[in-house]
Subunit: 225 residues, 2 copies
DNA sequence: CAGTGTGTGTTAAAATATTAACAAGTTTGT
DNA sequence: ACAAACTTGTTAATATTTTAACACACACTG
């Protein structure tokens, strides 16, 4: 029988109609973080070369990345940090405050919630949820753990689109189903399992064991060449 | 002046001399996890097609990945789960128990340590360290937080090569320097900052704010086409 | 107000990675 | 023992991503 069409990477297009790759999109928040730092240090202008030093990406790649969305720099001078930051905020969607929900208030869920509250200026934790009744009275920096029953209403009332899940692998799929049902379109998954969702829902896997395990490959050898 | 040679991606070679990509290496632990599950369920033979269902990678890619390191399957049949697992363990270096050290025992450090103790069968936490004296008596699943002074000796005595760091960005570089000085060759960095290290030291960045921020890009639009 | 230096944006080339196609083995059934 | 049904491993084609090269624009200097 004929194989079904490959959906694979849903190509994302910029204004000009060319394709915008996943790897590019992942670099944008890095630029943003560097720009925040520079602006804090009152640096007004920055060249791709210096951005390269700060980010570890090549200057060529940085210029190419930025040029994908428009001509934000000044030839002979560089990029205006505040102007570039604003443009990048718009492109990434981080210009508006984004509210997200966390599902799973185990140790990892708590730590990640706290981490984002403290360190992620672009994201606001709208709620944290857990199925375990014992968790219900716990607070993470003032945010109370809520029962799963309250999740649908909160998502819908606040029009939340993004969620982070740190639940056991065994229940991850049903949590995803629930989230999708209620309008979530992007999920950051920390459970070490493959999740299924409709094509219009984006799932990023942040499996920390895999991160560490693949690193070990590089720790071994390399009696070079 | 002439630009220096691009070191960029240090190409890793397999036995046959062809290049082994970073993306491939990151898929290996995924295969390994699936195989562990299959073996637990007493599945002896698995086809690339079924592996595709379980992992989300295409069957073609899986066959290609595995063929990079040798011919582990049987035509007409599939792959023997236990045999393939053994081979992959050898390739990734996870056949021997790997000991790692964690630096930074804040909330995230504690959660990640706990997580790996419980969920990562291939890695053993040899120690967790923190500069803050207040942390010193804390225990994470029986592992006591130790002062930074004890770090060099432990690394050297046990020949540890891999470390995970969850310290504030401000001190991350000096921690890296210390680790490298004492023989660490691979670092998983959770601090939101670019770190410098000699070319033979591998640093993987696991910046969780970036993960979440780049996801937001995908949560917005996509009035398709 | 030319001339020079600097750094972007763009286009072309090279390197990587993914997808597809298919030949070559294996097993199973008859 | 042969044919049919499968599924791998390999080679070729395609697509994507990265790197390089350079023309073009601006700023500064004298």
């Amino acid at each position: 029988m004929p194989r079904e069409k490959k959906p694979q990477n849903p190509p994302v297009k910029d204004k000009k109609g060319s394709k915008t790759s996943k790897s590019l999109i992942k670099r944008l928040p890095v630029y943003l973080r560097i720009l925040d730092n520079l602006i804090r240090r009152d640096v007004d202008i920055i060249s791709s070369r210096v951005l390269s030093d700060e980010t570890g990406f090549t200057a060529e790649q940085i210029r190419k990345d930025l040029a994908t969305f428009g001509a934000f720099g000044t030839r002979g001078t560089g990029y205006n940090t505040s102007y570039l930051r604003e443009k990048l905020l718009k492109i990434t969607g981080l210009d508006k405050q984004i509210r997200i929900v966390v599902v799973g208030s185990g140790h990892l869920g708590k730590a990640l919630t706290r981490y984002n509250i403290l360190k992620n200026p672009y994201v606001e934790i709208a709620g944290i949820f857990d199925a375990n009744p014992d968790e219900l009275d716990n607070e993470i920096l003032g945010i109370k753990v809520q029962p799963m029953e309250d999740l649908p209403l909160l998502i819908k009332e606040q029009g939340i689109k993004v969620s982070m899940i740190t639940v056991p692998a065994e229940v991850a799929q049903e949590v995803v189903d629930l989230l999708v049902e209620n309008g979530i379109t992007a999920i950051l998954n920390f459970a070490p399992t493959k999740l299924r969702a409709p094509a219009n829902v984006h799932i990023h896997n942040a499996d920390l064991t895999i991160e560490l395990q693949s690193l070990i490959y590089y720790s071994l050898e390399r009696e070079k060449e």
